[in-house]
């Protein structure tokens, strides 16, 4: 077997660049060297583990004043800003490669911090088939989103939730195989996957023929003695159950951990740049659970804007759990909006699009799911715009908190007294409105490619094989 595989030519000389957007990053020697180092992920996780440890300590032992507590400022302002403004739009799920939450479980499971070991520790059970989707993560995110007014202002709640996630992740790693937690349970992973489809970076195979002839499938199964005799530096099979050689066509579940690159004996997997929102054109893999994630995310961005930025004190009281009846009412409104009202509105417009398009009628469910992906640019833009509204006014707290992370009166770097300084509040509308408009335009653009125009009009794009409908009505919904 190994002899036959060695006959496959290694595509070391990478294909010429197609367009300016597409760059094979592993074509640069320092990058290729770095990505093939087994310590790379550990080096990314360790600083985050340090910050995470301080966050947990600050959550449980620090001042209850959110604005003076490292846990609140560094998780919900600094980390969130980095995540939604930089990492996701430009780096896809790069955060997942450096996330400290599953690290402890993964290290126990692998019995190693850095090295590749062929045998793992734990029961390595398979996740139940019926739950191999995002539904658990969706409900996890919706639950956390429901409590966000408390979560993002009470340090002890932030500390408890993060510690709880570490414990759940560790147990999941010991009972189930690979990073089951990240794939099916993590409440953050679901939306990172959804919006990582927008990112201008991807991990993909280089040459389909090499993968077709490959006997090892090391990118999915992990390195073996035989595959290592051919090449590769020793890597685990994709922790998130993806099969890059199959091929993997979307970023949704790629954690950018680079294990597949390390495992591939033919150096046939690479990291490329590409145009934004490329994955939205990929039909394969679209599912109802992912579609629902789009509704949840867009709905939550709108609801947060109402609750946290709006002038309605009563709603803020409900969201802050000041009374049980208020909480129930808020839960009904919040969950009803993101889980029922948004999908129902989408269903109505999808149905109308289908009716008005006439001709052959596509499957309503498929159309419902397909059109949900048009909400991805708008949803991401909505979150970016919403995030600007609290990041710019509050990021100055980070300086004082850095010097006194626990609110104990320290002044480590002499910045404790740095006053609260809202940055560029007068520019907020000029940042937010264009961001939202850009998201709207991109959503409409994506949606307009997926259907045929109303009778009497011509489409500039060839009709998709799976569905013919009117995008115009859907555009109105967006």
């Amino acid at each position: 077997m190994a002899q036959r595989s060695t006959a496959i030519a290694r595509p070391i000389l990478r294909p010429p660049q197609e367009v300016a957007w597409r760059k094979d990053l592993l074509g640069y020697r320092p990058v290729r060297w770095l990505v093939r180092q087994r310590w790379l992920q550990f080096a990314l996780i360790l600083p985050n583990l340090f910050v995470f440890t301080i966050v947990i300590m600050a959550g449980f032992l620090g001042t209850p004043i959110g604005a003076k507590n490292f846990a609140i400022i560094f998780v919900w302002i600094v980390w969130w800003a980095l995540l939604i403004l930089v990492l996701v739009p430009f780096g896809a799920r790069i955060w997942c490669a450096m996330c400290p939450i599953p690290a402890v479980g993964e290290w126990m499971q692998r019995r190693a911090f850095i090295l590749w070991k062929p045998k793992t520790f734990g029961l390595a059970r398979k996740w139940p088939k019926g739950l191999r989707n995002l539904w658990v993560a969706n409900f996890g995110f919706a639950s956390i989103a429901l409590t966000s007014a408390v979560l993002t202002t009470r340090p002890i709640v932030t500390g408890a939730v993060l510690l709880g996630l570490v414990i759940i992740a560790a147990v999941t790693h010991l009972v189930f195989e690979r990073r089951t937690f990240c794939r099916y349970l993590c409440p953050v992973g679901g939306f990172l996957g959804l919006y990582s489809m927008a990112a201008p970076v991807e991990v993909r195979r280089v040459d389909a023929e090499v993968c077709r002839q490959c006997q090892f499938k090391a990118c999915f199964r992990g390195s073996t003695e035989a595959s290592l005799r051919v090449g590769g530096v020793g890597g685990y099979g994709c922790p998130n159950f993806e099969f890059p050689g199959a091929p993997m066509e979307r970023n949704t579940y790629c954690l950018l951990c680079t294990e597949c690159i390390k495992a591939c004996p033919y150096e046939n997997i690479t990291i490329r740049t590409r145009p934004f929102f490329q994955d939205l054109q990929v039909e394969k893999g679209r599912k109802l659970d992912e579609a629902y994630k789009a509704f949840i995310m867009l709905g939550a961005a709108i609801m947060y804007s109402i609750v946290m930025l709006g002038p309605w004190g009563r709603i803020k009281d409900w969201a802050n759990f000041t009374s049980f009846s208020g909480l129930l009412l808020y839960a009904a409104i919040f969950l009803g909006s993101i889980l029922v009202a948004a999908p129902a509105l989408h269903l109505v417009f999808t149905w109308l699009s289908r009716v008005f398009a006439g001709g052959s009628r596509p499957d309503l469910k498929k159309l419902f799911v397909d059109y949900a992906y048009t909400l991805v640019p708008l949803g991401l833009a909505g979150w970016i715009a919403f995030s600007f509204s609290f990041v710019l006014p509050n990021i100055s707290y980070a300086l004082s908190v850095l010097s006194d992370p626990f609110g104990w009166g320290w002044d480590l770097f002499g910045t404790k007294g740095y006053p609260w300084t809202p940055y560029a509040p007068h520019l907020l509308p000029y940042i937010q409105v264009p961001t939202l408009l850009l998201g709207l335009v991109l959503s409409i653009k994506v949606g307009s490619r997926w259907g045929i125009p109303l009778p009497g009009k011509t489409s500039p794009h060839p009709p998709r094989p799976g569905g013919r409908s009117s995008p115009s009505l859907h555009t109105w919904q967006v």
């Binding site: 310590w39 301080i54 300590m57 004043i65 911090f113 626990f406």
Partner: protein, 132 residues
């Protein structure tokens, strides 16, 4: 290779155990010892409904310098010790105010919050006991 794993293990141990232990030891063992030697007393203010002053009773000695480090854990408070002519400015949540004074007379002196902070604001009281 084993050395690499051991190095990683030690780094993780240092991060999740070593650094927290150092921080906790500094804050809860070393700092109180130093503060106590210098006569510093930390007072945390909370609304009466949430527990009031912590501690609510402070014992000091006449003629010895007292250094109060006052902070608020919820809303803006203020501190005044009646009879000793001690008064702070507004103590905003999470900020610290250092108040230094030398009590010249013995006795029990009430202290209270000077900023209307909650419905039970007037109950937010404590005592400074000055011993001879």
């Amino acid at each position: 290779m084993r050395r690499l794993e051991w190095t990683a293990f030690l780094l993780v141990l240092l991060t999740v155990v070593g650094i927290p232990v150092v921080i906790l030891a500094y804050q809860f063992i070393y700092y109180p010892a130093v503060a106590s030697a210098s006569g510093e007393i930390t007072i945390i203010a909370r609304t009466h409904e949430a527990g009031g002053w912590l501690p609510s009773e402070i014992v000091v000695r006449r003629g010895e310098k007292v250094r109060l480090k006052v902070t608020s854990a919820d809303v803006t408070h203020g501190l005044r010790i009646r009879g000793l002519k001690v008064k702070s400015g507004p103590i905003t949540p999470g900020s610290y105010q250092i108040i230094e004074f030398v009590p010249q007379k013995t006795g029990t002196f009430p202290f209270y919050c000077t900023v209307i902070c909650s419905p039970e604001h007037t109950e937010m009281q404590g005592e400074v006991i000055v011993e001879p």
